[in-house]
Symmetry: C2
Subunit: 182 residues, 2 copies
């Protein structure tokens, strides 16, 4: 299942950390790619690419100069648009229906200011609680529900390092150790 994320209105410096969190969540929770609009941010792209290089998987990030074109193309190609917003319909009532359709998904997340057309163009406006909180949390819980928890055990090809879960402390195994365990 193809799942891309569209992050709207990235701002330099101010959004640097929240966009980093959002991108890493997209990767860790099973999305294939993030498009972002707003300001081009090479430092952000590099930071995320470094994580991909070390921790594996084929996740990628790409700047998008015009969200309208991206969204229209997505729909023309037969994909669906899911906009995460606190004003939308509750995830718990609609996630089964969303999962049923096997069309590629573009999950849209704001963004300081979300253009009102997004609400119209989206196939789904979905809320993760109707309370103010965080687009990072909204995306993680959406993907967790969408993938039914299977994303928690996703493996990432070509990882140079992996964590071996521990009751206490930290254990990272590197590529060589994966190939030649002690």
């Amino acid at each position: 299942m193809t799942v891309w994320i569209l992050r709207l209105g990235h701002r330099l410096i101010r959004d640097s950390r929240t966009s980093t969190h959002l991108l890493l969540v997209a990767r860790a929770f099973g999305a294939n790619k993030v498009l972002y609009t707003g300001r081009v941010d090479k430092a952000l792209e590099e930071k995320v690419q470094n994580i991909v290089d070390d921790w594996g998987g084929s996740f990628s990030i790409e700047y998008c100069s015009d969200w309208k074109i991206a969204v229209k193309e997505w729909k023309i190609k037969g994909g669906e648009i899911i906009h995460l917003t606190m004003y939308g319909l509750p995830i718990q009532k609609f996630i089964k229906k969303i999962r049923l359709s096997k069309k590629p998904k573009l999950v849209v997340v704001g963004g300081s200011k979300v253009p009102s057309e997004i609400y119209e163009i989206a196939n789904w406006n979905i809320s993760i609680t109707s309370q103010p909180h965080s687009e990072i949390a909204a995306l993680s819980v959406f993907l967790h529900e969408f993938f039914e928890g299977k994303e928690l055990i996703k493996s990432f090809d070509g990882a140079k390092m992996k964590i071996k879960p521990q009751k206490r402390g930290k254990k990272i195994i590197t590529n060589d150790e994966v190939k030649y365990p002690l």
Copy 2:
């Protein structure tokens, strides 16, 4: 069930937005209170208090000058400590066991630098995937799993405003409208 969050090592300016996200997630996903260490941040406290005033509930935030004392007192009073870390045991294998114990929960989240003693003192070191992502996402998915999705329909007493979920667009109803619907 009492669930408090302990946010470690808050830094002024740099962590302002990520800590705000984290606190709002704690509130929206059903935690009662957040303790935070690091730098005192009155602007952060005020921002979150304003949300509580408008959107209801009894959530609170308090600065904690010494996490060791807070954690020890929590344990002495019979509570449990759950530390969220990418190095910990996978949530999907242990959440049932964690839910079973009815002891008050203190959920610890980093933080730029997490002291190694936390790993020792915690009853549980729990990972939400073993990939690098975001403490905001980790907290939201942990609480979502812990409360089994019931947090999504939590109501917040004394709210001045509420969202009425919509297929498209935004609808906020204020206190007066709740009392006297049009």
